[in-house]
């Protein structure tokens, strides 16, 4: 077993652990932190079903962003949904062809392949705004540019392996399927592949400690996930109940 394979195996075990533990910690924190007051941005749905639809519109269509700014919406939406297709395409590197969930994996391949370009175009648009629009330039910090650089580098290196410089993809699949069963298989030593995988590991490592927390965060945003029914139903949090017990509502 080469040192390279072992190094990357360790890297991905660590990155996966950090990603999962970090996200579970953050999601638990958001879930456990009380929202003592009703603060949905109105007009808001008056039923729980309505809230589910509102949240779905936000997550799938970025509806508030659409209202806000068409350029950010186009680039942002293009990037995120291309990324989703690309991720789905990557299932082929983890799922066995004999698996019952394999059937959709070949179907998604052509979409996932070309989505790489849409992803890079979206990222390019977002980055251009950070440089060209004075207001967005003002609010952009080094980490905002680095995040875009990281995503562009991941997308570009991935696309390169598909369209320019192939790697031994069967061996790559062997390596990752091996990781799933805790057996380290040889990983090809192509530089583009190694860069791609290292950057993906970095992305997984920083996910729970960066602005990428917007992904779980939106589901916990009280302005979007609360039902507008404060008069009909008394809303309380644990600490407000305790405060009341102290002083009483008299």
């Amino acid at each position: 077993m080469s040192a390279l394979s072992v190094t990357y195996a360790i890297l991905f075990y660590v990155a996966t652990t950090v990603l999962i533990v970090g996200l579970v910690y953050k999601i638990r924190l958001y879930a456990k932190t009380p929202a003592p007051l009703k603060i949905p941005t109105t007009p808001a749905p008056v039923t729980q079903t309505g809230v589910v639809f509102r949240m779905a519109r936000e997550v799938v269509l970025f509806s508030s962003l659409f209202k806000s700014n068409k350029w950010i919406w186009i680039f942002g939406w293009m990037f995120h949904f291309a990324l989703l297709l690309v991720l789905l395409r990557h299932f082929r590197y983890f799922v066995d062809t004999s698996s019952p969930i394999w059937f959709w994996v070949p179907l998604i391949q052509p979409f996932g392949m070309y989505a790489a370009f849409a992803m890079l175009a979206g990222l390019g648009g977002l980055w251009a705004r950070r440089i060209l629009v004075d207001r967005v330039r003002y609010i952009s910090g080094p980490s905002d540019h680095l995040m875009l650089a990281l995503l562009v580098a991941i997308g570009a290196s991935g696309a390169m392996m598909k369209f320019v410089e192939h790697t031994d993809i069967v061996a790559v699949k062997g390596f990752f399927q091996g990781l799933l069963t805790f057996s380290i298989q040889p990983l090809p030593g192509d530089p583009v592949l190694l860069i791609h995988l290292a950057l993906v590991a970095v992305l997984m490592l920083i996910f729970p400690i960066s602005k990428l927390l917007h992904a779980p965060g939106i589901f916990f945003s009280p302005t979007r996930n609360q039902v507008d029914n404060p008069r009909e139903k008394r809303h309380q949090a644990q600490w407000t109940v305790e405060l009341e017990a102290d002083g009483g509502n008299k």
Partner: protein, 508 residues
């Protein structure tokens, strides 16, 4: 007229290039000890304030999910950067919602996040020092908590939540705002923000009764502390004498009179506005809300109705049940509380009010959706009732009505520029500049449709417009109360024998 430049009104609202530091000098007076201590805050900046402020920040992010999630979730996409009226009016980049949040977020990152502890430069994290505190004090008092940014944020991040938390943190280390804290003190001790004691209030209401009887020949009552009344009216104390607020109060009284309702004002809870929200203090907001509960219990009323007031309606509609509920001692057939517009609208629907709309024919009206009514509350059963119901009331009383451009009303409405605890003379420049987008929209309908007057349902909006309209070439009396329009057009049924005949048509 002003020692600052009043923004020019253009054809439409342009998104300006930013200019650094144009409002860095803007800061309201700091509260003295006598206004701080009764609210439970230290009298002046405490010794170890940095440590205590961070401790408070930690406490708040544990108590408010909004605060915790909003601090983490922002991706700096820029969607909010052109949405704040203070940014549009002042060009100061720190008035872009995300930049305002970042003033606090950079400190949160330094003390509470891995990246900020180890790579502060990379993520723009800084230590909390006096300069940062001063900047907080300045720019968190340049946010009217209007929530316009929260409509447009893809994650619903509401800068109001951050501003409230920042103000609470500052007050807790001894840096409170004089305007808000002095007012909360008055409401706590006297019962209203103006410090109007019971005898003065009684006097004022008596004066109004005489005035209305003189005008109309009808004995419309303005009851105070009447035990056993059905309805408790809680209204902003500005309604008792400020113009055009008081004309709105006369309107409510006439509506109650026509409905044959038994109602009363309470001298103990003679204030609808709850400035506890402005300073982000749950405890203070609750203490003020409990006065309404106590008044309702002491007077033995069956319903609570709130007068025209924006942030007040937010605390009433969204928070009152939480803060001072449950209201199981009131009549369960009515929502608690109700807005006066809901009350009047119901009567209009049931055909119980008669209007002579021609009384308002000398005006062409438009309606200013007050920020907190629009984006933090509802009226009626359906989402958006907060837009439809006040308009329906206006249209029932007026023939000439035009809306301002669609991107400046409804959920997209621009704040008047004076909300959220900023309605003080020491922030005049901010107030005038922040009113620019609303004035712009008003100018558009003035030029295109000959609009003469703008109606509002918020005491702050009304006071603010009275002050800022003249800066933009309008006159102060162009702002009117919605129930002032009702008051002018309503036909009082026992005014003349003709009207008495009509009363036979009433149903139910």
């Amino acid at each position: 007229m002003a020692d600052f430049e009043v923004p020019e009104l253009k054809e439409y609202i342009e998104v300006p290039k930013y200019k650094d530091g144009t409002m860095a000098h803007s800061s309201p007076y700091i509260a003295k000890e006598k206004f701080q201590e009764p609210l439970g805050y230290p009298g002046e900046l405490i010794e170890n304030w940095e440590e205590k402020a961070i401790e408070k920040m930690g406490e708040l992010k544990g108590k408010y999910r909004s605060f915790q999630v909003f601090l983490d979730a922002c991706v700096k996409c820029g969607a909010c950067t052109d949405k704040c009226h203070y940014y549009l009016g002042t060009l100061d980049p720190k008035n872009m919602p995300v930049a305002r949040q970042d003033l606090l977020r950079k400190v949160y990152r330094r003390y509470f996040t891995f990246a900020g502890k180890w790579f502060p430069k990379l993520v723009g994290a800084v230590d909390l020092d006096k300069d940062v505190l001063d900047e907080w004090y300045s720019y968190f008092h340049q946010c009217s908590q209007c929530r316009r940014c929260s409509v447009y944020c893809p994650y619903g991040i509401d800068t109001a939540e951050i501003s409230m938390a920042a103000r609470e943190i500052m007050a807790s280390v001894g840096v409170g705002q004089k305007y808000c804290n002095e007012i909360i003190g008055k409401a706590n001790t006297i019962g209203n923000n103006l410090g109007l004691p019971e005898p003065a209030l009684a006097d004022t209401l008596e004066g109004l009764e005489e005035e209305v009887e003189e005008d109309t020949g009808v004995a419309v009552k303005f009851p105070l502390d009447q035990k056993g009344a059905d309805i408790l009216l809680v209204t902003p104390s500005a309604d008792f004498f400020a113009e055009p607020h008081v004309d709105g109060l006369i309107g409510y009284a006439k509506v109650f009179h026509e409905a044959g309702a038994s109602w009363t004002i309470s001298s103990y809870a003679s204030e609808a506005a709850n400035f506890g929200m402005f300073i982000g203090s749950y405890e203070n907001m609750r203490r003020l809300s409990l006065r309404v509960r106590k008044a309702a219990q002491d007077l033995g009323v069956k319903r609570i109705v709130f007068g025209e007031c924006g942030h007040a309606w937010r605390v009433a509609y969204s928070f009152l049940n939480t803060l001072a509920g449950p209201f199981d001692f009131l009549d369960p057939n009515y929502p608690v509380p109700q807005h006066i517009c809901e009350y009047t609208y119901d009567l209009i629907q049931k055909d119980k009010l008669k209007f002579n709309k021609t009384e308002n024919d000398h005006m062409t009206l438009t309606f200013h959706d007050s920020c907190n009514v629009a984006r933090a509350t509802r009226m009626g059963d359906k989402p958006g009732g907060q837009f439809d119901i006040p308009r329906a009331v206006i249209k029932a009383a007026c023939n000439n009505y035009v809306d301002m451009p669609a991107d400046t009303i409804g959920e997209a409405t621009f704040c008047c520029g004076g909300g959220g605890g900023l309605l003080t003379d020491d922030l005049m420049e901010l107030r005038v500049k922040g009113a620019m987008p609303r004035m712009q929209a008003l100018k558009t309908v003035t030029d295109d449709y000959g609009v003469t007057n703008i109606a509002a349902i918020c005491a702050i909006c009304k006071s603010q417009f009275t002050k800022v309209l003249p800066y933009y070439g309008f006159t102060m009396d162009q702002i009117v109360s919605v129930h002032q329009l009702v008051s002018d057009a309503i036909v009082l049924s026992d005014a003349t024998s003709d009207d008495a005949d009509d009363s036979g048509e009433e149903q139910e």
